[in-house]
């Protein structure tokens, strides 16, 4: 019997729908973009609110500065651009104009990770979590599916502080059910007693799949959806260390400073650390290939997560 076909979603659709809905309720909401009306899925927003879509053209430093100026004038700007360019090109603006100036801008990194597959490392955004987690006062949020994206957009619009929202393009199944996004809190999507998998974004559905497969092999896996990377829910990590014997992290990002590094920083500073495996990209530029291929190439499939979890569960530690 074949498995039921899972419906998959591009989170940008939920993002744009929710943004338009918010804009109808709140005239402070504006969108700022870098010639990315289409790729940020803002076509409908532009049609409905032509004056409230500020397209500065291909100019990311200007885009973030303009967003800061709007935020400092009482608007709630959603500054949208492909994540590699938004975060890479305008990093100093994000640091100085948004975070350090405490300008309540919502930075929306669209199509992050390796969503642009074959376009190559110039268009991948696997460094963004490392870069942004190092910036004081900037919240880093990575929704896992359309429902959580909607909920996070709504939260961000009212957060009144600097936020980075990573909005996925690579299609994912619905995994969060009717849980609302809760800022700063890990969401336990499945409980388990042997190993905890801490996953974010596209890796969450794969972690759930891995847990199901591991159960069939007698290994009980807890799955945490860590949709806030900064500030990290450290209590959830300590709980995982108490309740399970090991931790696997999984992220479509470099392991040099993102989720894995954040979790490890908690684990090693506890009195009794637990063994860990960090799944992600280890300081490598991707070869040519589509997103699905690249996730496989870098060991980011459900099978890889299952293997890491089972390996830790069975290791003599």
């Amino acid at each position: 019997m074949s498995a039921p076909v899972q419906e998959l979603f591009d989170c940008r659709v939920a993002f744009a729908d929710e943004l338009s809905a918010l804009a109808r309720e709140d005239e402070r909401i504006v969108a700022v973009c870098n010639d990315s009306v289409g790729s940020s899925n803002l076509v409908k927003f532009q049609q409905e609110f032509p004056d409230r879509l500020i397209n500065v053209g291909i100019a990311e430093q200007d885009m973030v500065g303009v967003g800061a100026g709007l935020a400092l004038s009482g608007y709630v700007p959603f500054v949208c651009g492909a994540s590699p360019f938004l975060t890479g090109r305008a990093l100093e603006q994000i640091k100085a104009d948004v975070a350090y100036s405490r300008s309540p801008v919502v930075l929306c990194g669209m199509s992050p990770g390796m969503a642009y597959g074959e376009l190559g490392p110039t268009h991948h955004s696997i460094e963004d979590l490392s870069w942004l987690r190092a910036i004081a006062g900037l919240d880093v949020v990575v929704p896992a599916d359309p429902a959580e994206t909607r909920s996070a957009v709504r939260w961000a619009a009212n957060a009144a502080r600097p936020v980075f929202l990573r909005v996925g393009r690579f299609k994912v199944p619905a995994v969060t059910g009717d849980r609302d996004f809760t800022f700063g809190a890990a969401s336990r999507l499945r409980d388990g007693s042997d190993v905890t998998v801490v996953a974010t974004g596209t890796m969450v559905s794969r972690a759930l799949e891995a847990a199901e497969e591991a159960a069939a092999e007698g290994v009980s896996v807890r799955v945490l959806n860590m949709s806030t990377i900064a500030p990290l829910d450290e209590d959830a990590i300590r709980e995982a260390m108490r309740d399970t014997r090991a931790i696997v992290t999984a992220e479509e990002a470099t392991t040099t400073g993102g989720l894995g590094a954040a979790v490890a920083a908690v684990v090693v500073t506890e009195r009794t650390p637990v063994p860990m495996r960090m799944l992600g990209v280890h300081r490598e530029f991707a070869p040519t290939g589509n997103t699905a291929f690249l996730l496989e190439h870098f060991g980011l499939t459900a099978g890889d997560i299952r293997q890491a979890a089972i390996g830790l569960a069975r290791a003599d530690v």
């Binding site: 885009m63 500065g65 303009v66 100026g69 400092l72 009482g74 100093e92 100085a96 104009d97």
Partner: protein, 293 residues
């Protein structure tokens, strides 16, 4: 966050009233005297702190004084007033000049200037809006003020507000490409509620601007980006006042203010080494005597 000093704010209001009622010669004298008082305050701040950007401070102070004491629609006792004019100092390294001006306006007590750059002082080496009223955004890295000001001008348009946005840019700073991204946006959107003032002292940290990376013809550059351009003597207060308040067309305005780095202190004027050299106690005495003339 520092708080307003009501007595200084009242004095500032009287100054503004007297200026409004005065003839040209008196106006010129009022602003000249006020600017030189800020120069003196700034020299003492830098002397005490042992750091600062004295050359650029002296260069920009006539521009800042003219704006705060005769142009900006602001209220130092209501720094969050929604319809206030916005002022952004993009060349954030001349924070000393800004602090001296803000204190003289009454945004905070003049005594606070003594803490400049000291441990835990709100008066950091570059301005911080979270700590200092009257500072609209944190600047320091160059090329940030103009994009932010463009955003403020877009916001003013969206809100149908009559407030105006003024941003002061260093000339060397214009080598940062982000300025030209923002200049393009301002021209494209015809942001007539935006005035950029270029402190054109022709010196950057290490050398003359034109020997480093040519900026001229700066007026043509801004015109080509869709701006109206005025060029004035950046130490002529009445010319500055006129440029800042001139009837506006349908385009953003760039005021190229031709200035002298180190202005007002003979041994500092137009000398590259005074970018951030700290004057000795004797040099401060000598400078003060020149400024009191």
């Amino acid at each position: 966050m520092l708080v307003a000093d009501p007595r200084t704010a009242a004095a500032w209001r009287s100054f503004r009233q007297e200026f409004a009622d005065a003839g040209p010669e008196r106006r010129r004298e009022m602003l000249r005297e006020r600017a030189n008082q800020s120069r003196t305050a700034d020299l003492h701040m830098i002397g005490r702190a042992g750091l600062g950007h004295v050359g650029g401070d002296m260069s920009v102070l006539d521009i800042l004084t003219t704006l705060f004491f005769s142009v900006l629609r602001i209220d130092p006792e209501k720094p969050d007033w929604a319809d206030r004019d916005r002022f952004v100092l993009s060349k954030g390294h001349t924070a000393g000049a800004l602090y001296a001006t803000l204190a003289a306006t009454g945004f905070f007590a003049t005594a606070e200037l003594d803490t400049f750059a000291g441990p835990l002082s709100p008066l950091n080496g570059h301005p911080n809006r979270v700590k200092v009223p009257g500072v609209e955004t944190n600047t320091g890295p160059l090329g940030h003020g103009l994009p932010i000001s463009v955003g403020m001008a877009v916001a003013g348009r969206l809100s149908a507000s009559s407030r105006h946005v003024y941003v002061v840019l260093g000339d060397g700073e214009l080598q940062e490409g982000s300025n030209w991204e923002a200049a393009m946006t301002a021209g494209h959107r015809r942001l007539s509620n935006l005035t950029a003032v270029v402190d054109r002292n022709r010196l950057q940290q290490g050398a003359r601007t034109e020997e480093t990376n040519t900026l001229d013809p700066l007026d043509d550059k801004f015109r080509a980006f869709g701006w109206d351009v005025l060029e004035v003597d950046g130490h002529d207060h009445l010319a500055l006042h006129e440029a800042f308040t001139a009837p506006r067309g349908e385009r953003p305005t760039c005021v190229i203010a031709n200035t002298t780095k180190g202005r007002g202190v003979s041994f500092m004027e137009d000398r590259v080494e005074w970018h951030h050299k700290v004057p000795s106690a004797e040099q401060i005495v000598a400078a003060e005597a020149e400024l009191a003339r």
